[in-house]
């Protein structure tokens, strides 16, 4: 498809385990964003990648969260030692810089 693809769509894990969430942006989009959507907090920015520039990590809630973007395309968000408060929907978006952000359907993470 031509849209932003995220996998898995659902992930259930146990407290303390590490998880990896994947985002395939729209081809040709240089900017990639991760957001988190939880019941209490709404939709929050996590991290932003633009080309070869250093990522904007200002939204990451703790050092357990990290993300990388390989080859300017696919991105992986890693959460180490998951906690119950990490349960949320993790959304990825991509754009051509300064234009409309297109969102994927998200990964629903449940930490038991």
């Amino acid at each position: 498809g031509a849209g932003v693809s995220q996998s898995p769509s659902n992930k259930v894990t146990e407290k303390g385990k590490d998880v990896e969430l994947r985002c395939d942006p729209i081809s040709g989009h240089t900017a990639l964003y991760w957001y988190r959507q939880s019941l209490g907090q709404g939709l929050e920015f996590l991290i932003y990648f633009q080309g070869n520039s250093a990522p904007d990590k200002s939204g990451l809630p703790s050092d357990r969260f990290s993300a990388e973007r390989t080859g300017g395309s696919v991105s992986t968000l890693t959460i180490q030692r998951t906690q119950q408060e990490d349960s949320a929907v993790y959304l990825c978006a991509s754009s051509i810089q300064g234009t409309i952000q297109y969102f994927g359907a998200g990964t629903r993470l449940s930490v038991l």
Binding site: V4, A31, G42, L43, D56, S95, Q101
Partner: protein, 111 residues
């Protein structure tokens, strides 16, 4: 970081009714975006407003941007069940255009 306040948070109405949702801030918006998010999907951009006093229409949806660019509203005329979803306002911030979102208004339109 600017806080975006949306009201109401929840609304359940009958098909054919009209409704308005508001998005407010104590600071001036650089620009404002409205999104709709359906269950199990990501948000989809409806409109961007930039100029104070601006009015944009998208079929039965009317978007207004306050003259002082501190508030915006979305009015839906003759709501339909297909309008059901979460309506979010968001402001792009900084050179990265990262979005700061309001908490949204969950709309249910009953047939």
């Amino acid at each position: 970081t600017q806080l975006l306040e949306q009201s109401p948070q929840f609304l359940s109405i009958q098909e054919g009714e009209n409704l308005t949702v508001y998005c407010n801030s104590s600071s001036v918006f650089s620009s404002l975006q409205w999104y709709r998010q359906e269950p199990g999907e990501g948000p989809v951009l409806l409109v961007t407003v930039v100029t104070g006093g601006e009015v944009k229409k998208l079929k039965r949806l009317t978007f207004q941007f306050g003259d002082a660019r501190k508030d915006s509203s979305l009015h839906i005329t003759a709501a339909q069940p297909g309008d059901t979803g979460l309506y979010l306002c968001a402001e792009p911030q900084g050179g990265s255009e990262k979005l700061v979102f309001g908490k949204g208004m969950k709309l249910t339109v009953n047939p």
